[in-house]
C-alpha cells in the first residue's frame, strides 16, 4: 500500500503543496499501477502562470477507504492514459478541449462538449456497406428530455454501434464557479444536475465545511441524509415508472408517476422546493425541522410506502414485463470495469463500487448499501433500484421515528483556507458524485471540478445497445437515466 500519493479521507482538505508533484512518466506509471485496485474520480489540468499545466489525479482507493492524490507538471502534451485504461477517455478529451493540452496517443480526441467548435460538428464512427443504415436522433428528442445526439449504426434490425455525442447542455458551470464562493455558487452547484440537487448541496457543504473549518451538528448531518434519501427514492420511483411505461405496462407507469410526486412533495415539505433546493447549506440548514414536521413526514411515508410496494410488486410479478427486461441491454462486469462505470448501474452488473462503503464519511450516516449481484441487463438495473428503495425506506423510517430536530442554522461563512484542496464524494442516486475544490491564495476557488456519475457511465449506455434492436433503446436508456446537464456542465 505504501505509495507516494497523498492520502485523503472523504470530505476533508489538505494543503495543495502536500499533493506530491511527480515527474510525468513516474506519475503515469504509478496511476496505471493503482488502477487495478482503485478507480479514477477526477483527472484534470490546472493552468499555471508560466504556461505549464499541473495534471492532477484523484483516485478512489476502496481498500484504504479514501482518496489518493498526485500531480505532475506538463506543457503542450503528455502521454495519454486512455489507451491503457478507457476510464480516462472523457477526462482527457475534457483536458484537450479546455486547455489545448494534448494527450498524445489518445485513440480519438473527439470534442466532449463542443466548446470550441459548432455543436455536433465532428466525424462520427461510421459503418459502410449496402445493407447498413444509420439512424440519427437528437439533439431535440421526441419526449420531454434533455438534448443529446445519438447515432445508431444498424444492419437490418440490429444495432452494431451507438455513438452518443453530448455538449448541448453546456452552460459553463465550472467557469462560473471559479473565484467563488459568491452569492451564485450554491445555486450553480445545485443546478449542475437538477435531479441530484440535494446530493450536490451535501457535497458542496462538506467541501466548504472542510475548507472553512465549520462545525456541523450530528442532527443536521442526519437531516441532510434524510433529504438525500428522499431524492434517491423520487428518482428511482420515477425511473421504474418510466420503464414500465416504455414496455406499455401502464398500471405501474401511472401509479409511479403519481407516487414519485409524493416524495418530491416530502422534500418540498422540508424546504418549499420539490427538488430540495435552498435547503442544505454549508454549516447548516436554511429551514428548521421540528417535531410536527417529523411526525407529518412519518405519517406521510407510512401512507405512501405500501402504495409504492404495491405498484412495484405488480410490475416485478408480471412475466410480460420481466420478459422485456431480462437479457436486454446487458453490459458485462468486465466492460463496466474497463469503462470505469460507477453507481447502481455498475453494481447491477456485478461491479462492487459504492462510495458509501468505499469512502465512508466519518459520521457513518447513510442508508445501508445494497448487496446485489446481477447480470448487467435492464432487469438488474431495475431490480437494484427496487432493493435500494427498500434500504432507503429502512433508513427513512429509522430516522423519522427518532427524528433529530434542528432550528434553521445559517452560520456566517468565514473565509476559506487558502492554497488547499478538498475532495468530497456522495453516493447520489445514479452513483458517486465527486466534487474537487482548490483554493487560491486569496481563499477563492481556483478551480471547482464536478464529476457527475453520468460522466463515467455514458459509454456504458452506448455498450448496452450493441446487438440490441433500436426499439429497445428507450428501456436501456431509462434503466441508466443518465444526466445530460451533469455531464455537459
Amino acid at each position: 500500500m505504501n505509495s507516494n500519493f497523498l492520502f485523503l479521507k472523504n470530505g476533508t482538505a489538505a494543503p495543495w503543496s502536500d499533493v506530491p508533484e511527480m515527474e510525468f512518466n513516474y506519475f503515469r506509471t504509478e496511476i496505471l499501477k493503482k488502477m487495478g485496485s482503485c478507480r479514477v474520480l477526477a483527472f484534470f489540468a490546472l493552468p499555471e502562470t508560466d504556461g505549464t499545466f499541473l495534471l492532477t489525479a484523484v483516485l478512489g482507493d476502496p481498500q484504504a477507504q479514501g482518496f489518493l492524490l498526485a500531480k505532475s507538471r506538463v506543457s503542450g502534451k503528455f502521454a495519454s492514459l486512455t489507451a491503457e485504461h478507457a476510464a480516462f477517455n472523457r477526462f482527457e478529451r475534457e483536458i484537450y478541449e479546455e486547455h489545448g493540452l494534448l494527450p498524445e496517443g489518445h485513440p480519438w480526441l473527439k470534442p466532449l462538449r463542443f466548446q470550441n467548435v459548432d455543436p455536433g460538428v465532428t466525424d462520427y464512427f461510421a459503418m459502410l456497406g449496402e445493407a447498413v443504415h444509420e439512424v440519427a436522433v437528437g439533439p431535440v428528442h421526441a419526449g420531454v428530455i434533455e438534448p443529446g445526439h445519438f447515432r445508431f449504426e444498424c444492419m437490418g434490425e440490429d444495432v452494431y454501434s451507438l455513438e452518443i455525442s453530448l455538449g448541448y447542455q453546456h452552460r459553463g458551470v465550472e467557469k462560473l464557479l471559479r473565484n467563488g464562493p459568491d452569492a451564485r455558487t450554491p445555486h450553480l452547484i445545485e443546478t449542475a444536475a437538477g435531479d441530484s440537487s440535494i446530493a450536490a448541496a451535501v457535497n458542496y457543504a462538506r467541501i466548504v465545511e472542510a475548507l472553512g473549518n465549520i462545525p456541523v451538528s450530528p442532527e443536521i448531518r442526519t437531516i441532510r441524509q434524510l433529504a438525500l434519501e428522499l431524492e434517491r427514492c423520487a428518482n428511482h420511483i420515477g425511473d421504474l415508472g418510466a420503464l414500465a411505461g416504455d414496455v406499455a405496462f401502464l398500471p405501474t407507469a401511472s401509479f409511479c408517476g403519481r407516487i414519485r410526486g409524493e416524495y418530491l412533495n416530502m422534500s418540498a415539505e422540508l424546504c418549499g422546493n420539490r427538488f430540495g433546493r435552498n435547503f442544505v447549506t454549508p454549516g447548516g440548514l436554511t429551514c428548521a425541522v421540528d417535531q410536527e414536521l417529523a411526525d407529518k413526514l412519518l405519517a406521510w411515508l407510512n401512507r405512501v410506502a405500501p402504495e409504492l410496494w404495491n405498484a412495484l410488486d405488480l410490475m416485478f410479478d408480471s412475466p410480460t414485463v420481466l420478459d422485456r427486461f431480462e437479457n436486454t441491454g446487458t453490459v458485462s462486469a468486465a466492460t463496466l470495469r474497463e469503462l470505469g462505470a460507477v453507481g447502481m448501474a455498475a453494481r447491477a452488473g456485478g461491479v462492487a463500487c459504492d462510495s458509501r462503503k468505499d469512502f465512508p464519511m466519518a459520521d457513518g450516516l447513510c442508508a445501508e448499501p445494497v448487496e446485489f449481484s446481477g447480470s448487467g441487463d435492464v432487469a438488474s438495473r431495475a431490480r437494484i433500484r427496487y432493493e435500494e428503495l427498500k434500504k432507503s425506506h429502512e433508513f427513512l423510517f429509522k430516522v423519522l421515528k427518532n427524528m433529530p430536530l434542528s432550528p434553521a442554522v445559517l452560520p456566517e461563512l468565514s473565509l476559506l483556507a487558502p492554497g488547499m484542496i478538498a475532495v468530497s464524494v456522495t453516493e447520489a442516486w445514479r452513483g458517486e458524485l465527486c466534487h474537487v475544490a482548490l483554493t487560491a491564495v486569496n481563499g477563492k476557488f481556483r478551480s471547482y471540478k464536478i464529476i457527475d456519475p453520468s460522466f463515467h457511465n455514458w459509454e456504458a449506455l452506448a455498450m448496452a445497445l450493441r446487438d440490441e434492436q433500436i426499439s429497445n433503446f428507450p428501456i436501456c436508456n431509462k434503466s441508466f437515466n443518465l444526466s445530460y446537464c451533469g455531464h455537459d456542465l
Partner: protein
C-alpha cells in the same frame, strides 16, 4: 389481469382536484410571488447584495422583484422582514413587464387576444425544447402528464415533432450549443406558433445569466407569448399559465 385490477382498486382514483374544483395543495414553505412592503434604503442594499441573480429593480423609483429573474431562494426574505414569499402560485404572465412584483395588489393578467382559442379550439399541442438548464423544468413539466395532474383532459398534449405543434415550450437559458436546434425547431412548426418560456432560465438566463456559453434565455431569439417564472416552476404554476394562455379562466386562488 386480476392483480392489476386489484392494484388499481388499492391505488384508488388520484387525479387532483386542481384546477377544476380546488386550488393546488402547496407545501407550507412554498415560495410563491414575492410581496414587498416598505423597504428602507439599507434593506434594499442588503437585498441587492445577497440576491444571486440581481432580481431587484428600482425603475421609476419603485422597488420591485423581477420574478423573471428570481429563483425563489428566499435569501432576501431572510435578511429583510419587509419581503415575504406568499402563497400566490399564479405567476405566469403574457408580458415581460407583468413579471415585476412590487408592493401592489395582484391578480394574474389575462391574455389580451383570444387568437389561440380561436385557431386551436380547446387543444394545444406542445413541442418542448430543452436548451441548457438543469432538467428540473423538464421533470416538472413531465409531471403534468402523470395521472395526478393529467393535463391531457384540458386538451394539452406533448407532440413528438415541432411539425405537429401549436406551441414551442422552451426550458433552459438557451445554451449556445442549443441555439441552432432551438431556431430550427421553431422554424419547423406551422404558423401561427406560440412560445412559452418555462422557468427563470428561459425567461432571463436565471443563474446562468451572463455566462459566455449561454444566451440569457429566449428573449431576443423568439417572441414569447407566455412567461412562467420559477426554478423550476411548480406544476400548478405552469398548468395554470398554459390554461390561461388558452383563454381559460384563471386558476383558483390559494387562501
Amino acid at each position: 389481469m386480476w392483480k392489476a385490477l386489484k392494484s388499481r382498486l388499492f391505488q384508488g382514483h388520484r387525479t387532483g382536484k386542481f384546477p377544476v374544483s380546488a386550488p393546488p395543495s402547496l407545501p407550507p414553505r412554498f415560495a410563491g410571488r414575492p410581496e414587498i412592503s416598505q423597504l428602507s434604503n439599507s434593506e434594499l442594499e442588503a437585498c441587492m447584495e445577497i440576491c444571486p441573480v440581481g432580481a431587484f429593480t428600482t425603475a421609476d423609483d419603485k422597488v420591485a422583484i423581477d420574478t423573471g429573474k428570481c429563483i425563489f431562494c428566499k435569501k432576501c426574505a431572510r435578511v429583510c422582514r419587509s419581503i415575504k414569499f406568499g402563497k400566490e402560485y399564479r405567476l405566469a404572465a403574457m408580458k415581460r413587464e407583468d413579471l415585476l412584483a412590487d408592493g401592489s395588489a395582484y391578480t394574474p393578467p389575462h391574455p389580451e387576444d383570444r387568437q389561440l382559442a380561436e385557431i386551436c379550439g380547446r387543444s394545444l399541442k406542445i413541442r418542448q425544447v430543452s436548451a441548457g438548464g438543469c432538467a428540473a423544468c423538464e421533470l416538472d413539466f413531465n409531471v403534468l402528464n402523470t395521472l395526478a395532474w393529467d393535463m391531457g383532459r384540458f386538451g394539452i398534449q406533448v407532440v413528438a415533432s415541432p411539425r405537429h405543434a401549436d406551441c414551442i415550450l422552451v426550458t433552459g437559458p438557451v445554451s449556445k450549443n442549443m441555439l441552432l436546434a432551438l431556431k430550427k425547431s421553431y422554424e419547423a412548426a406551422p404558423r401561427p406558433v406560440w412560445v412559452i418560456a418555462c422557468g427563470t432560465c428561459a425567461i432571463s438566463g436565471g443563474i446562468y445569466a451572463g455566462s459566455p456559453e449561454c444566451c440569457n434565455g429566449v428573449e431576443g431569439i423568439l417572441d414569447v407569448d407566455l412567461y412562467v417564472p420559477g426554478c423550476p416552476p411548480h406544476p400548478a404554476t405552469l398548468l395554470e399559465g398554459i390554461m390561461r394562455l388558452m383563454g381559460k379562466k384563471s386558476g383558483p386562488e390559494v387562501k
